[in-house]
Amino acid sequence: MGDLTKNFADIAPPLTPDYALLEANKCLFCHDAPCTIACPTHIDVPVFIKKIATGNLRGSARVILEANPFGHSCARACPVEVLCEGACVLNDRDEQPIKIALLQRHATDYVLERKVKLFEAGKPTGKKVAIVGAGPAGLACARDLRRWGHAVTVFEAKPQPGGLNTYGIAEYKLKADVALAEAQDILDLGVELKLGVTVDSLEPLLKTYDAVFVGVGLGQTKRLGILGEGLEGVVDALTFIEHLKTHPYHETKVGKRVVVIGAGNTAIDAVTQAKRLGAEQATIVYRRGEADMPCYDYEYELAKRDGCEFRFHAVPKRVVGNGRVTGLEIETPEQGRETIPCDMVIIAIGQGARREFAPPQGHPKIFVGGDCANGGAEIVNAAAEGVAAARRINELLGRTHG
């Protein structure tokens, strides 16, 4: 695996203009389209695809981004197999669904590459809103609030905006430069961004701002609570992925034999990227069976195509090592205890809730959205919740949508 750039190239490369035209013309232009219903942000999919077919890419991108401020990243990282593309009526004609994600990328890339400004800030209302967290939920909320003319200040603990879009999506799906450009597009509407600021109480914000939106995401990756978890070579999945996404590829250390504990989508991101970084062996260890894995089927298929291995019904008992990791002891129903030799263990058993503060329930000026509200979901859910919160905040501030 010499060429790491190649290993982390887009897993779904963009469509050529000819292919996009061909694909766009395959769309039936359904009424009350199941794809639109399936999308949490309800992008009018047939309409944006029809605009691609007519060569109106700017109009197409506007339809997408109007509904979903994170149309760029969703085009790359959305689980479309279980959302819009899974709902496409062509599935019922026993055909491949329309490549909605790639068409969405075709249209949104057009405006991103040309730096087309599709939206503008509204006339100032004199109202101020604080947003905690510059992830998809917070920035989606910020985008619409700015369009309605409210002043918006976003507080972000990390050095860059974008949340998990910037720091946590598998590199072969979404690269940080796209996530940052997407975030910047929203910030350019006149959002004040305060980076490196950790908010640990909402009280001061409630005094200064007319409303507060909380989109702080989830907390640290949960711990296993087994012996040896503190050994050198044990890392949590998000830290591993964040390092990969914020450094040149060769600077992220990967073991020769890597074990990933957990079988969710983040675990798949971790195991495939460990393999793509050069691990000779990358194995998922999961305490339950194949059918129980929380990851999407196509993510499982991807990991298998990457040559990753799977151990099911394997309960981690102890990380083995003397200072450094040398193995993971597991217990299986058939063989009892055994040790998988490895020099790196990545823990990917989900994130816990943030402990720093719990937003008060039912406070009239506090709104929440994204992973911290839904327990951890997709970018598109965070965007939908941010947009919905913006509408409610706008109503609170006495404005009508426009």
Binding site: D18, L21, L22, A24, N25, L28, F29, C30, H31, D32, A33, P34, I37, A53, V89, L90, D92, R93
Partner: protein, 435 residues
């Protein structure tokens, strides 16, 4: 295998597929290659006093990803010396004696000029002559092409001049750019034509470049109307062929031209009365090789249907082409949706609701069952839902029997016959209010 041999006004060819006069028949090399690949005949690129062409000549209309759904050109007749063309025609005829070689001619409207041109052409051994009275661009400005074919008297006059000297069959190629093509067809018959060919291309501007506002094809920023052809014009050609074929005053054979690209197109032209078929745009798009499937497909279809010769098929659809006033008003249809194959796109609903007769009801998507159903009392059997449905045979139009005898408008207007009760009475403001 079906017998595709063709005898068209005395011109014989191994099959009915001829190359139409145009760029594919400009040279010996092209025509010889076409015959080698299976074409039955060729109408040579129109010969006359050599012209000078502009460089940008063709424009097209794409339909989504389908290229050249419609095609146009502002190219003129042959730019090669008359002698060169005639020499090559003679050579082709010598080397391919069983194939039909027809010379297309266009000269100035002088009796003597036509006489000389026809005599020279006959010396080549060509099987026939086609008079280009249809070319709508460029040549018409010089009093030739469609300038002749749009005036019955001119058409008749020149055919008479040609027939004064011609000993081989004379085909007159008609322009569609007229209000009623049968008048021109009759004029050609009156002048003594042995056959007709139609349609020539249709006046058109295919596109405007929205960056520069240049009409296409652009010649240093300007363009001129050109002749439209290709798949887009087939329905127009089918209609005009049938109109001429049904005219009692036109009793001579018709060579069908206009958007033929497949054996299906060919079979439709034959069924509406065509005795031979001419193809140009499809060859300009895909090459001479398409003749293999034209022959194979037509032959297989004829075998499967038990049609032994082209004569068994020719004109079979013509008796079914009638005036509107002769259609039965008591033939009622009802759309039927096969819910098992419905993919729930709701295109039928949208089309019927906005574009037709509000005869489809939409049901909630989350009810687990059908999402569309026909409102039988409102359906007028117009076919629109079946036409827009993307699933083959999902929506079918089913006849609804009634106890009323057939009645045409002609009869009904004359006080004869009774109308069966019809759904259209529901399709009124009252219906819209009550639904």
């Amino acid at each position: 295998m079906a017998d595709l041999r063709t005898d068209f006004a005395g011109i014989k060819s191994p099959n009915p597929f001829w190359l139409a006069s145009g760029p594919p028949t400009n040279t010996y090399g092209q025509v010889a290659k076409a015959f080698d690949e299976g074409w039955g005949g060729a109408v040579w690129k129109t010969i006359g006093e050599p012209i000078i062409n502009v460089f940008s000549r063709y424009g097209s209309v794409d339909l989504g990803p389908t290229r050249m759904m419609g095609f146009n050109n502002i190219e003129l007749i042959s730019d090669r010396p008359i002698a060169d063309n005639l020499k090559e025609i003679a050579e082709v005829k010598r080397n391919y004696p069983k194939h039909a070689v027809i010379a297309s001619l266009m000269v100035e409207s002088q009796r003597k000029t036509w006489h000389e041109m026809v005599k020279q052409t006959e010396d080549t051994g060509a099987d026939g002559i086609e008079l280009n009275f249809g070319c709508p661009h460029g040549m018409s400005e010089r009093g030739m092409g469609s300038a002749v074919g749009q005036v019955p008297d001119y058409t008749c006059q020149i055919v008479e001049w040609v027939k004064e000297v011609a000993t081989i069959p004379v085909i007159v190629k008609l322009t569609p750019n007229v209000t009623d093509i049968t008048y021109i067809a009759r004029a050609a018959v009156k002048g003594g034509a042995d056959a007709l060919s139609l349609i020539n291309t249709i006046n058109s501007i295919v596109a405007v470049d929205l960056e520069t506002f240049e009409p296409q094809p652009s010649v240093r920023g300007k363009s001129s109307h050109g002749g439209y052809c290709g798949p887009a014009v087939k329905p127009i050609a089918l209609h005009l062929v049938s109109a001429v074929a049904k005219d009692p005053q036109v009793t001579i054979p018709i060579s069908g031209i206009g958007g033929i690209g497949s054996w299906r197109d060919a079979a439709e032209f034959i069924a509406l009365g065509a005795g031979s078929l001419q193809v140009c745009t499809a060859v300009m798009h895909y090459g001479f090789r398409i003749v293999e499937d034209l022959i194979d497909g037509l032959s297989n279809w004829m075998d499967e249907r038990g049609h032994r010769t082209l004569a068994d098929v020719r004109g079979r659809a013509l008796p079914r082409v009638t005036k509107w006033e002769e259609l039965d008003l008591n033939y009622h249809l009802l759309a039927h949706i096969d819910q098992d194959t419905c993919i729930k796109c709701e295109l039928c609903w949208t089309a019927c609701e906005d574009g037709a007769h509000q005869a489809i009801r939409r049901l909630p998507r989350d009810n687990g069952g059908p999402v569309v159903e026909i409102i039988e009392e409102a359906c007028v059997g117009c076919n629109l839902c079946a036409l827009v449905c993307p699933v083959h045979d999902c929506i079918t139009m089913e006849p609804v029997p009634n106890d009323f005898a057939p009645v045409t408008w002609k009869e009904y207007a004359a006080g004869k016959g009774k109308l069966a009760p019809r759904s259209e009475q529901f399709h009124t403001a009252t219906w819209s209010k009550n639904r």
